[in-house]
C-alpha cells in the first residue's frame, strides 16, 4: 500500500480545503482559537482535524474529547468520523475504533466521565454517575417531590406567589410558573457554580438569601433517596468535581476540541480548562451566532478566549485562525449580514481598543455572481406582505428553483402569539401550499395529538373542569380537552368499528374498576391488610366466592399459571402481598402505548401512515411519532400499568390528563420536540430563529423583524452575584438581538426574502429597518437569476449498519420506516433489551479476558 497522507485522503474525499482550513486541520500542539463565520465549513474542519490526529499523529480516539452543543450535532460528528476514518482505514490498513471516544454534549460526556476508570479513581459506587434528570424530569421533580416541603423549609406560606413575585416580577400564584421560574434560576446558579454561602454573602436583597436557602435545600433533596440525582447543570458540576479530585485526570485527554464555544457556560469553561492538561485545547465558534444566554451561555467565554487562555493554560502560545470564507450563501446575502452586524457599536465603554465582538473575521463570499440575492417585500400591512411573499414562494416552486417545498424556510423571532404567522400560513394555503410548523402552536394543539388524546378521553374519560380555576392557562388546557373530545366525536361518527372499539375499551375499564372494588370490599370485610402476604388457601377461595366478580378475574384467580408464578416467587423469596395479587388480577393487560398503536389501525390515523408510505406528506407521521415518544415517557417514568384501582379512584385520569398532559401543554415545548431535519417532504417549514441555528436552506424568508427586549429577569438577579468580564446588562439585550438576526440572515443559500411590514402596532428593529432601505424589492427580482437547488446528498457519505439497517429493512421496510426513520417508541422492547443485555455482558467478559492476558504476558 502506498504511503497515505492527509492530502491523499483529501483527494479521495474530493475536499479542497482553503489555506486557513488546512492550517486549522493540521495545527499540532497548543491552544487553537478558530473563529468560524457562517457557512465556513467548520464541522468539516473539526472532523478532519480529529481524523488527522488519529490517523497521522498516533492519538487514540479515546484520548480526544470532542464536545458540541446538541445531541444532533454530536450524532453528525460521530457519523462523519466513522465515514472519514473508514476511508482512512482503507488507505492505511489500520482499524480506527471510535466506540470509546468522547463525542457528545457536555452533560452526556460528564456522565460518562464520572464512571470512566481512567479519570475517577474511586471504585464501586463512588464511580457511579447520579441518575440524570432532563428538563422535563427536573420539572416534575420540582413540581412534586420538592414542592411538597419547599414552602415550609423557607417559612413562606404562599411559595408560588413569593417566587413568581421575586423571580419574574409577576403577581400570580401559578404553581407551574413558580416551578419554571425556580428551574431557570437554579440552573443559572448551578451553571455559575454559585454556592449558597457565597450567594448569601453577596445578596443585595433578602429574597436572594431565601433563594440561596431554597437552592441549598434543592441540592439536599436531590441527593436523598436510593440513588442521587442530578439535573443537566449539576451533572456538569459533578463532572468538574471528579476532575479536580483526581489530579491525573487532566492528562487523560491529549486533545480537547469544543464546537459552538460561544454557547458554553461558566461551569463548562472550567471543565474544559481542567481537562486541558496537555494544553491542546481547540475551540471553534462564532460570537455573532451566540443565541443561548437564556440557558446560561456566556458569549464572553469565546470573545475573551485569548485572555482566559493566558490565565488558565499557562505558558502556551495561542494560535488564532479565522475561517471566514462562506461557501454557503451567494455574495449578496453575505454582504448584507456582514453589513448588518457592523451597524451596532460593539466597543467597550471604558477600555480603549476592547470590543464585545471579534472584529477581524475576514468574512468573504465564495459564491460571487453579482446578482440580486436579497429582496424585501413592499412596505405594507401584514396581509398584503404575506400575500406578496406567498406569491413569490409559489413562483419559486413552480419554476423549480427548489426541489421540494421543504427547501424554503420561514424564520421568526417567535412563532407563538405572532399574528403574522397564521396570516402567512393562510396566504400559502390559498395557493395550495402546506406548512410544517411544529412550534407555531403548542405541539399538542396540532391535529394529530388533538385527535389521539381525544380518543384517549373517549376511552378513559376526562377530568372535570373546576369553575374555581377556570381562567388563564388552566382554561386553555380544558378548552383543548374539549377540542380533543369534539374531534374524537367527529372521527367516531364516521367510523363504526372505532365506535365499537371504544365501547369495548370502556367496558373493560368498568370491569377492572368493579373487580377491584369487590375484592377490596372483601378484604376489608375480613379485616385483612393489603400488605399481608397472599395466602393461596385463605384468600383465593374467599375471592372466588365473590358473586359479582367478572369471569375474567375469576379465570385469572383460579388459573394454574398465576399459581405457578406465585409458587416460583415464593421460592425466590419475592413478595406476593395482597396488594400485588389484587393489582395482578384487576389490571389491564395493555399499556397506553399499546392502545396508541391499536388506535393507529383505524382509518383516520391509518391514512397518515399511508401518506408517509406513499411519500406524499410526512408531517402527520412525524407528529404521531412524537406522541408515541411522549406516551412511552409516561409509561416509563410515571405509571407503567393501568390498574383497576387507578381507574376506580380516578388516579389514572388525574395523573395522565391533569398532571402529565397539563405539564406538557403548559410547557409547550421541550427538548423532546427536536426539529426534524430534513424537514418533512412536501411542506414548508416554519421555524424560530433558534431552531434554524446550524441549518441552511436554499431559500429563507425572515417573517418578522421585531426589536430587542431588555435583559431577562433571571440575568438581572444573578449578575450581581458574579465576578468577571460580562457585557453590561443594559446593552446585552440589544447585542443578543443583533446576533439572533445575524443567524437568521445567514441561513439562506440562494435567496433571502425579508418581510417589510408597517402599520399601527408594528414595531421594527432599528438596524434592520435602516438596512432595508437599500434592499431591492421583490419586483426587482428576476427568478432566472436564482440558481435551482437540487436535493443534495449529505456532505459525508452515510453509514449503514448491516444489522440495524440492512437486515432490519429486509425484515420489513415499513417497520424500518416507523421505528428507525421516524423514531416511533415501540410498546414492547423486550427483544432489543434482551439482545443488548447478553451482548454487553459477553463483551465485558471478553474485555476482562483480553485485559488478563495483557497482564499475563
Amino acid at each position: 500500500m502506498a504511503q497515505a497522507t492527509l492530502d491523499t485522503l483529501f483527494a479521495k474525499m474530493n475536499f479542497k480545503p482553503n489555506k486557513n482550513q488546512k492550517r486549522a486541520i493540521e495545527h499540532g500542539d497548543g491552544p487553537l482559537f478558530l473563529v468560524a463565520g457562517p457557512g465556513s465549513g467548520k464541522t468539516r474542519v473539526l472532523l478532519w482535524r480529529a481524523v488527522n490526529l488519529i490517523v497521522f499523529h498516533g492519538v487514540k480516539p479515546e484520548e480526544i474529547f470532542l464536545s458540541t452543543f446538541t445531541e444532533k450535532a454530536a450524532l453528525q460528528l460521530r457519523q462523519g468520523l466513522l465515514a472519514l476514518l473508514a476511508v482512512a482505514s482503507s488507505e492505511t490498513g489500520l482499524p480506527y475504533d471510535i466506540s470509546q471516544m468522547y463525542v457528545g454534549t457536555m452533560h452526556s460526556l460528564c456522565h460518562k466521565l464520572i464512571s470512566d476508570k481512567r479519570i475517577n479513581r474511586r471504585t464501586g459506587s463512588g464511580r457511579k454517575a447520579p441518575v440524570l434528570l432532563d428538563e422535563l424530569d427536573q420539572y416534575f421533580f420540582l413540581y412534586d417531590e420538592f414542592w411538597r416541603t419547599a414552602g415550609k423549609h423557607i417559612g413562606v406560606s404562599n411559595i408560588n406567589a413569593y417566587i413568581n413575585g421575586y423571580i419574574a416580577n409577576k403577581t400570580t400564584s401559578s404553581k407551574h410558573e413558580a416551578v419554571r421560574n425556580c428551574q431557570s434560576l437554579f440552573n443559572r446558579f448551578s451553571e455559575e457554580c454559585l454556592t449558597a454561602s457565597a450567594m448569601r454573602e453577596k445578596a443585595e436583597e433578602d429574597e436572594m438569601t431565601v433563594m440561596a436557602d431554597l437552592y441549598d435545600y434543592y441540592l439536599e433533596i436531590l441527593k436523598s433517596g436510593p440513588r442521587p440525582r442530578a439535573d443537566l447543570a449539576l451533572i456538569q458540576q459533578e463532572g468538574y468535581r471528579v476532575l479536580t479530585e483526581n489530579p491525573d485526570a487532566k492528562c487523560v485527554f491529549k486533545h480537547i476540541i469544543v464546537d459552538e464555544y460561544q454557547d458554553t457556560n461558566a461551569i463548562q469553561e472550567k471543565i474544559y480548562f481542567e481537562l486541558a492538561g496537555h494544553k491542546n485545547i481547540c475551540v471553534v465558534g462564532d460570537d455573532d451566532q451566540a443565541l443561548y444566554r437564556f440557558r446560561g451561555a456566556t458569549v464572553e467565554n469565546f470573545v475573551f478566549f485569548p485572555d482566559r487562555c493566558r490565565s488558565n493554560v499557562k505558558g502556551a502560545k495561542l494560535t488564532k485562525i479565522p475561517l471566514g470564507t462562506n461557501y454557503r450563501s451567494r455574495s449578496g446575502i453575505v454582504e448584507l449580514y456582514s453589513d448588518f452586524i457592523e451597524k451596532e457599536d460593539w466597543r467597550h465603554e471604558t477600555k480603549k481598543g476592547k470590543y464585545y465582538r471579534i472584529n477581524d473575521k475576514g468574512i468573504t463570499a465564495h459564491r460571487t455572481d453579482g446578482k440580486i440575492a436579497v429582496v424585501a417585500t413592499s412596505q405594507g400591512r401584514s396581509e398584503a406582505v404575506c400575500d406578496e411573499i406567498a406569491e413569490l414562494v409559489y413562483g419559486l416552486i413552480r419554476e423549480k428553483k427548489v426541489a421540494d417545498p421543504n427547501q424554503i424556510a420561514f424564520l421568526y423571532p417567535s412563532l407563538k402569539n405572532c399574528a403574522h404567522v397564521p396570516r402567512m400560513i393562510d396566504a400559502l394555503a390559498r395557493r395550495g401550499l402546506s406548512v410544517y410548523a411544529p412550534r407555531a402552536n403548542k405541539f399538542l394543539d396540532n391535529e394529530e395529538p388533538t385527535a389521539m388524546i381525544g380518543m384517549f378521553i373517549k376511552v378513559f374519560g376526562c377530568p372535570e373542569r373546576n369553575p374555581q380555576y377556570d381562567y388563564g392557562s388552566n382554561r386553555e388546557l380544558f378548552d383543548w380537552f374539549d377540542r380533543c373530545e369534539a374531534l374524537a366525536d367527529e372521527i367516531i361518527k364516521t367510523d363504526r368499528k372505532l365506535k365499537s372499539f371504544t365501547k369495548d375499551k370502556q367496558l373493560e375499564l368498568e370491569r377492572v374498576a368493579g373487580d377491584y372494588q369487590y375484592i377490596e370490599n372483601e378484604i376489608i370485610r375480613h379485616g385483612w391488610n393489603m400488605e399481608d402476604n397472599f395466602n393461596i388457601h385463605l384468600h383465593r377461595p374467599a375471592f372466588m366466592k365473590i358473586k359479582v366478580l367478572s369471569k375474567e378475574a375469576k379465570r385469572d384467580i383460579s388459573g394454574k399459571r398465576l399459581e405457578a408464578v406465585i409458587k416460583r416467587r415464593g421460592e425466590q423469596g419475592r413478595a406476593v402481598t395482597l396488594k400485588w395479587f389484587v393489582n395482578r388480577v384487576t389490571s389491564l393487560d395493555w399499556s397506553i402505548l399499546d392502545l396508541f398503536y391499536e388506535l393507529c389501525g383505524f382509518d383516520y390515523f391509518r391514512n397518515m401512515f399511508d401518506l408517509a408510505e406513499s411519500r406524499d406528506d410526512e408531517g402527520p407521521i412525524c407528529n404521531l411519532a412524537l406522541i408515541s415518544q411522549y406516551l412511552a415517557r409516561y409509561v416509563d417514568d410515571h405509571q407503567t400499568l393501568v390498574t383497576g384501582r387507578s381507574i376506580l379512584t380516578e388516579y389514572f385520569i388525574n395523573e395522565f390528563f391533569t398532571r402529565y398532559l397539563r405539564a406538557l401543554f403548559k410547557l409547550g415545548e421541550t427538548e423532546y420536540e427536536d426539529t426534524n431535519d430534513p424537514f418533512p417532504r412536501g411542506r414548508i417549514p416554519f421555524l424560530t430563529i433558534h431552531q434554524a441555528k446550524g441549518l441552511e436552506f436554499p431559500v429563507v424568508v425572515l417573517g418578522n423583524i421585531t426589536p430587542a427586549k431588555g435583559p431577562q429577569r433571571v440575568e438581572v438577579l444573578v449578575r450581581p452575584l458574579l465576578e468577571g468580564d460580562y457585557e453590561p446588562l443594559d446593552r446585552s439585550g440589544e447585542f443578543d438581538t443583533m446576533r439572533k438576526y445575524y443567524v437568521a440572515l445567514s441561513r439562506a443559500k440562494n435567496l433571502l426574502v425579508i418581510a417589510n411590514m408597517r402599520g399601527p402596532g408594528i414595531r421594527r428593529h432599528g438596524h434592520l429597518d435602516t438596512l432595508l432601505n437599500n434592499v431591492p424589492s421583490i419586483d426587482d427580482l428576476d427568478l432566472d437569476d436564482i440558481p435551482a437547488e437540487e436535493t443534495l446528498d449529505s456532505e459525508v457519505p452515510r453509514v449503514y449498519s448491516y444489522t440495524a439497517d440492512y437486515l432490519s429493512y429486509l425484515d420489513c421496510p415499513r417497520k424500518y420506516m416507523l421505528f428507525r426513520k421516524y423514531g416511533f417508541a415501540p410498546a414492547r422492547t423486550t427483544i432489543m433489551f434482551f439482545g443488548s443485555l447478553v451482548h454487553r455482558t459477553i463483551e465485558d467478559l471478553h474485555h476482562l479476558m483480553i485485559e488478563r492476558r495483557g497482564e499475563g504476558s
Binding site: G93, R574, D637, P797, Y809, R814
Partner: protein
Amino acid sequence: MSKVDDREIEQFLEKVFDENYEHLHAETGRGITPAMRQLAWEHVRAYWRRMKAVAEKVTETEVRLSLPSQISPTGRQYTIEGVVDVVREGDETIIYDLKTHNPDIVMINKEAYAGQLNVYAHIWQKLRGSTPDDIAIIATEPPAEVRKALQENDKDALEQEMANWDPVVRLNFDQNAVDKCVTHFGQVVDNIENGRFVPPAPEVLGKKKPGQKAPFGTAVCRHCDARFSCRSYEKYMASKGRKKTDVIVSDGSELEAEREDFLETMVDAETGV
C-alpha cells in the same frame, strides 16, 4: 485457568450482568420480565461454560468494521458497517459474530447468515490484507436441556448436555457471495434514501421463512406494534378469516405466558417490588 478462576469469572459475570441490566433500564426506561432476565443470564452463563476456549482467546471484541466508498446503483456513496469479535492465534484469524439466536435456526438459514459474515470477512481482508481463516456465528441460545441442567445445578447432566450443544456455526468464505450481497446492500440503501417503505405483500406474510415455525405474518408481525395500521397485515389476517386485532398462535399457552410475563413485570413496577 484453575477452578478458583472459574468461580471468580462467574462472580464477575453476575456483577456486570446486573450492572448492565441497571444501565439499560436507566437508559431506556424499560425492563424485561424476570423470565426473560433469567433467560438472558442463562445465555451468558452457558456461553462462558461452553465457549470458554474461545472467550479466553478473543483478541479483539466488538470490533467495528467499515467498508467505505461503496456506490449504490443510483450513484450514492455510502459506508457499510458491522461489529464482530476476532480471535487470532498464531497465524490463524477467526471472525465471530455473536447472535442471541438458536443454532439450529442459524444452521437452516446458513445462506442468509453467510452473506453477512462474508461481507465482514471481505472488509477484514481489505483492512488487514489477509483473508480470515474461518468465519463463524456463535448462536448463544442454549437448548432446553442445558438450561434445565443450569437451573437445577446438575453437574453431570450439565457436562453431558454441554458436550451435545454446539453453538458455533461455521460458514465458508465466498467472494462471489460478497459481491452479490454488497450489490443488494446498495439497492437497499437506495430504497431507504428514496423512501420506499412498502411492507411485504400479504402472500409473503402467509409464507414461512426457512427455520421459522410459523408464517412471517405470525412469527414476525404479531410482535410488531405497527401491525394494526398495516394494510398487508390486515389482508393476511382477512385471508385467514380473522380480524387484524386477532392473534393467531399455534399454541394458546404461548400467548398466556406472554400475558403473564407482561403483567408480572408491570405489577412489580407498579407495586414497587
